[in-house]
């Protein structure tokens, strides 16, 4: 594939020349190293991840204010103007301390934040205290500036001065401040030394069923000593998770990167289908030793090694030609490779990822 995003020749040289530069990739995550030298990685919630939580909290507050208003109207007839005072006081407390109270007692979360799976913590990753919760919520108003009037948008319903006064928040101040720092801290966060992190990261992987006779056959060839370390397990899991969305040619292209060094390391035949090999390794890493299952399936399936000619990468390519055949024509295991019955499979160089 050759295009501007995937430079073929000339642009590559420039990219290679620049590739020596050290890059800190933008990812919306930050690392915190504890005094014990343990690194924690947090996904920081930016303005657009936080706005939904804010909207939920706003609606909750609005609901409570409406209830208070109804209550006040009911009380005014019996207790007079004290009822109005009660409403104003409640409104003030609700608007200014709603966030602070919830964040203090719900470990950095308001109902909106809990629903959205985000949480306010200190910049060291510790739970926030009451003072920090109060500080970050008191200064919230500054983020809503500048305030504008409906008249500024040409909306002039009446001569009522309300429409001339500025009360519509634009949130530009908050947005600018948040985009100026790596932790997406708004002014209140900067003052209180806090940030908002994503509390619940949904796992992208379940265990995926890759069992097929061909995969099990290859899985059985993999030496018993094979152990996938954390990075290898993650790579295999990512591949198996994403492969249903990929064309066969693209699966093969991705898997091929790892096939050659892995085959060498594990002493496997070089022409194994790369896609199947990675599935087999996934199976071995996450599910089980394939031997038992293979014993049941082996009589009915055997691999045919067939590598088609190089195909262009893209969607809708013809499927990879690897078939399961009845055991009438089994391919004999070659002496000297791990599949041979006379020699238990083991990697030639003392094993990988043990």
């Amino acid at each position: 594939m050759s295009n501007d995003l995937f430079p073929a020749n000339g642009s590559n040289q420039q990219a290679m020349a620049n590739s020596e530069d050290v890059i800190d990739p933008i990812d919306g995550t930050i690392s915190i190293v504890t005094p014990e030298n343990i690194t924690f990685r947090y996904s920081v919630a930016g303005p657009f991840q936080r706005v939904t939580a804010f909207a939920i909290d706003f609606l909750i507050r609005l609901g409570i204010i409406i209830m208070l208003l109804v209550l006040t109207l009911a009380l005014v007839s019996s207790i007079g103007e004290i009822g109005v005072g009660f409403f104003l006081l409640s409104n003030f407390i609700l608007n200014w301390f709603y966030g602070a109270v919830f964040e203090t007692y719900m470990n950095g979360q308001t109902p909106g934040k809990r629903l959205m799976g985000i949480r306010a913590v200190t910049v060291d990753g510790k739970p926030i205290n009451a003072m920090q919760a109060v500080m970050r919520n008191l200064i919230r108003t500054a983020d809503t500036y500048p305030l504008v009037s409906p008249a500024m948008f040409g909306i002039e319903f009446t001569d009522n001065p309300v429409y001339q006064s500025a009360f519509i928040p634009t949130f530009i101040m908050g947005l600018v401040v948040m985009s100026m720092n790596k932790r997406y801290q708004r002014i209140g966060d900067l003052v209180a030394g806090t940030m908002v992190i994503v509390d619940q990261r949904k796992s992208t992987f379940g265990l995926i069923d890759v069992r097929s006779p061909a995969v099990l056959q290859i899985a059985a060839m993999v030496p018993a000593t094979f152990r996938a370390d954390q990075e290898m397990s993650q790579a295999l899991a990512h591949f198996v998770d994403q492969r249903p969305r990929l064309s066969d040619a693209r699966r093969r292209e991705i898997a091929t990167h790892l096939t050659k060094p892995l085959s060498k390391e594990l002493g496997l035949p070089p022409h194994l289908n790369p896609d199947l090999l990675l599935q087999a390794l996934y199976y071995r890493a996450f599910v089980s030793d394939a031997q038992e299952e293979l014993a049941q399936l082996a009589p009915t399936a055997v691999l045919q090694y067939h590598i088609p000619a190089q195909q262009p990468v893209g969607f809708g390519q013809p499927p990879v030609q690897l078939h399961a055949y009845p055991s009438a024509h089994p391919q004999p295991a070659r002496p000297g490779h791990p599949g041979h019955p006379g020699r238990p499979g083991r990697p030639p160089h003392g094993g990988l990822m043990q």
């Binding site: 501007d4 995003l5 430079p7 933008i26 500048p146 305030l147 634009t170 985009s179 290898m232 990512h238």
Partner: protein, 318 residues
């Protein structure tokens, strides 16, 4: 391409994450993105003003006063048709947005893969896509039709104006639906360089269909969400810029300041929002390709392969 040498971590993200990450991208490359965007946005801003500013004149609005003399009547800003002007301006900006973001998209594609492009170089490399862009956006997406309809507003009276505006609205709805379903057409033209016919590899139509149908209805949803964010962002920017400009330079409520705000502050706010949404659209495009082409998996697989190869080199011990 070196996935491990990008300015953006290659991984699949949610829509809100992409909006946040776009702010970070803006923070890292503000000058490059804004400069490359303004190269095309400023001429378009001026063209729009040329096409639309007459709506904010007494002559254009005078027909509603019948036989009253324009000279004798005392006019105020409330006599001008601001609503129609704002509507026409918004529609035109949304229609022209992809064209304005041609160079900023090219710039981003180079920047995130750690290249250092120049505006001249970008213009040179975009030249080969010129006809594809004209075909896709000028004709199929109605840019020329919209401009033609606006030109008709110059000369004809009230009755014809209604017909022209109806066509204008219908064309805009059509454009919205088409673009909503195929939001990454510009990115495909600029970055994947599709062939004109199937003999030259995959055509624009084929590539577009593959990319846009790979994630199902997600594309339309993201596209509409992006539009909504863009509109809200424009309004917030307009409010903020008007607030600051009125506070610092003018006294609000005069005919001059209202017309100035409508003619210049409003379109500038909209174009700034378009600049941001072009980054968001590019990030969405990258995200879709990460998902459909398995970039994230490839990055991890290649990293593991590299480690193995290093280990297998003679004399290397771990």
């Amino acid at each position: 391409m070196q996935f491990d040498k990008t300015h953006i971590q290659i991984r699949n993200r949610t829509e809100s994450e992409l909006l946040d990450i776009s702010l970070h991208v803006f923070r890292r490359f503000p000058v490059q993105i804004v400069t490359s965007f303004l190269v095309l946005a400023i001429p378009l801003l001026l063209i729009n003003d040329l096409l639309l500013s007459h709506v904010l004149t007494i002559e254009f609005n005078a027909t509603q006063y019948g036989s009253q003399s324009i000279v004798e009547t005392e006019f105020t800003t409330s006599d001008l048709n601001f609503t129609m002007y704002i509507y026409l301006q918004i529609v035109l900006i949304i229609t022209l947005a992809p064209i304005a973001s041609i160079l900023s998209t090219m710039m981003l594609s180079k920047l995130i893969f750690n290249e250092k492009p120049t505006i001249k170089g970008l213009i040179r490399s975009t030249r080969s896509c010129f006809w594809n862009i004209v075909l896709a956006f000028g004709f199929r997406r109605g840019v020329f039709i919209m401009i033609g309809l606006l030109l008709l507003l110059f000369d004809y009276g009230q009755d014809t104006r209604q017909i022209v505006l109806t066509f204008y609205t219908l064309t805009f709805i059509f454009i919205l639906l088409v673009r909503g379903n195929r939001p990454y057409t510009l990115e495909i033209i600029l970055l994947e360089r599709p062939g004109r016919d199937s003999g030259q590899g995959m055509t624009l139509g084929q590539r577009s269909k593959m990319l846009h149908t790979a994630t199902g209805g997600n594309v339309l949803g993201r596209s509409m969400f992006g539009l909504l964010v863009g509109i809200l962002f424009s309004l917030c920017l307009y409010g903020a810029i008007t607030f600051f400009s009125m506070s610092l330079f003018t006294e609000s409520g005069t005919i001059e300041s209202s017309v100035f705000a409508a003619r210049w502050i409003f379109p500038i706010s909209c174009w700034l929002a378009v600049c941001y949404t072009s980054v968001v659209r590019f990030m969405n495009y990258i995200d879709t390709r990460i998902l459909t082409e398995g970039w994230e998996a490839e990055l991890k697989i290649r990293s593991e392969a590299y480690k193995l190869q290093q280990r297998q080199q003679p004399g290397t011990s771990w």
